[in-house]
Subunit: 298 residues, 2 copies
């Protein structure tokens, strides 16, 4: 007999569908900008040949096409100097036809990523990683350009009517890109989650996870979060996209999240991998590009 737990199944939070909805909602704002003679324009800088980065950039370009946002891709060679990357950023900063600038992460070894990020004009920083934009968030103002992945997670929760007020939210991973801004967004007034930030050094993580009403897994390790850590009735947001070797696939690999797939039998809501947080991140990038264009054309 199939045990009771395994015949339950979580509601899948369809990031692709929600992301497309967000993209469609940008339509009127784009029309309004165009009627003023402004054509929203995103510049994407990519350094080197990392295959995953190239897939991400291509996905961003396709999203721009879908939305009617102009995109320009700047390919730089792997061996380029930090100064040459900074020069490219400065040139894009002073180009009035460009409204959003994104430098695809990771950058080659030896390049200071924070330095490159902070070289982008804060009002063109559509990734939301500039210290001005992150700092505004700590000050309690979430109305500016927010990091796309955490902002996408907030949108999934909002549009899926998942209320986390007073509840235990566990964030696994403390990156500047996901974990830290995520913690600030979830703890902010009006959202009101009780937020725990865990990481590789956390003791008794399984125990902490079993008390969490919301788990955001962003540690970048395949199936790190075990199914039996998940509290029945909880919401699981899986930010991880890990390639693992799978010789049965034509590509030789498959994508898995940071959460064991069995979690979908226990959680009440869960994001799939792929098709969960990934498309939401891209939708928020489109949204940030439009916000940046509006700010610059006021």
């Amino acid at each position: 007999m199939v045990p009771f737990e395994s015949i339950m199944s979580a509601t899948v939070l369809d990031g692709k569908k929600i992301g497309r909805l967000i993209e469609e909602e940008l339509h009127n704002r784009i029309i309004s900008l165009q009627s003023k003679g402004v054509s929203p324009h995103l510049a994407v800088v990519i350094v080197g040949d990392d295959p995953a980065s190239h897939v991400y950039v291509r996905n961003k370009e396709m999203a721009c096409e879908r939305c009617g946002i102009q995109s320009t891709r700047i390919d730089l060679e792997e061996g380029i100097s930090e100064q040459e990357i900074l020069d490219t950023v400065h040139r894009l900063n002073s180009d009035d036809s460009v409204h959003g600038i994104l430098v695809q992460s990771p950058l080659p070894d030896g390049i200071n990523e924070s330095l490159v990020t902070d070289a982008i004009s804060p009002e063109k920083d559509v990734d939301g990683f500039h210290k001005m934009n992150l700092g505004r968030l700590v000050q309690g103002d979430a109305s500016g350009l927010l990091p796309c992945t955490p902002a996408g997670v907030m949108k999934i929760l909002e549009l899926s009517n998942i209320d986390v007020s007073g509840k235990n939210a566990l964030i696994i991973g403390r990156s500047r890109i996901v974990g830290m801004p995520m913690s600030i967004l979830l703890a902010q007034r009006g959202i009101d989650a009780t937020v725990t930030i865990a990481h590789s050094r956390t003791e008794n993580l399984s125990e902490i996870c079993r008390r969490a009403d919301l788990v955001v897994a962003a540690i970048g390790r395949p199936e790190f979060v075990k199914s039996d850590w998940i509290k029945p009735g909880s919401t699981v947001i899986d930010v991880g996209i890990n390639r693992i070797i799978d010789s049965s696939r034509k590509s030789g690999y498959r994508l898995v999240g940071d959460v064991e797939s069995g979690a979908s039998d226990i959680a009440e809501n869960i994001t799939p991998v792929p098709g969960g947080v990934g498309p939401m991140t891209i939708a928020m990038l489109m949204s940030n590009t439009i916000m940046a264009t509006e700010i610059q054309s006021q």
Copy 2:
């Protein structure tokens, strides 16, 4: 018979003593600056007649005197406009003889505090509240000008050899001044606490608190954290300084923290109120002023 628990007593983390130590350690750096003809100089702007604010500012001036830091106090009237406060800040920004600028909080109703904070040059922002300085922290760089109270708490832990790596740290209160930057500092690499941010909307706070190895109470409510919420063996940092009416005192009031006094019978380490976090905050302000002077005179 006295029950066993009540004859145990926590080690008192003497913020006044540790703070003075930190101030003394600035001596050589001040001498070195003076030998280059640079006299560290803090400007403190205070608006209106709030008695508590005047006490705080006086304490900061006295600390400057102790350390050999020049201080200038600018008193502005309660009814002053936001623009006049901003003009004062701009004037201090362009005054090369001033290295640190602090605008005492709270400002009168109707004045946008974040606007005033962000008007201060980031390199003169000795309170560490400017979005550039808070944002750097989210990026994982804690080497800049840090908010004084959270930085002071980190120093108490460090100098008292309290290791929180992998442990549960609970922060009660989510202000931009204390709670939020505190969470980032405790979760950073090398400190490695598992950090929970709780607040007025948190459910089951007593239960969460009973699991905490470190409690930082910064909610601004007298004795909000009850003694029986404290885990035996834990460290309690009481950031609150609340005046409560006490007709038995000549002043008519007494100061209590955010934690019930009985907590000192249960915790292993505890900061007193007053004489705990308060003097540490001031010592870190002195430390920030010297750092700011060094940066500006490089």
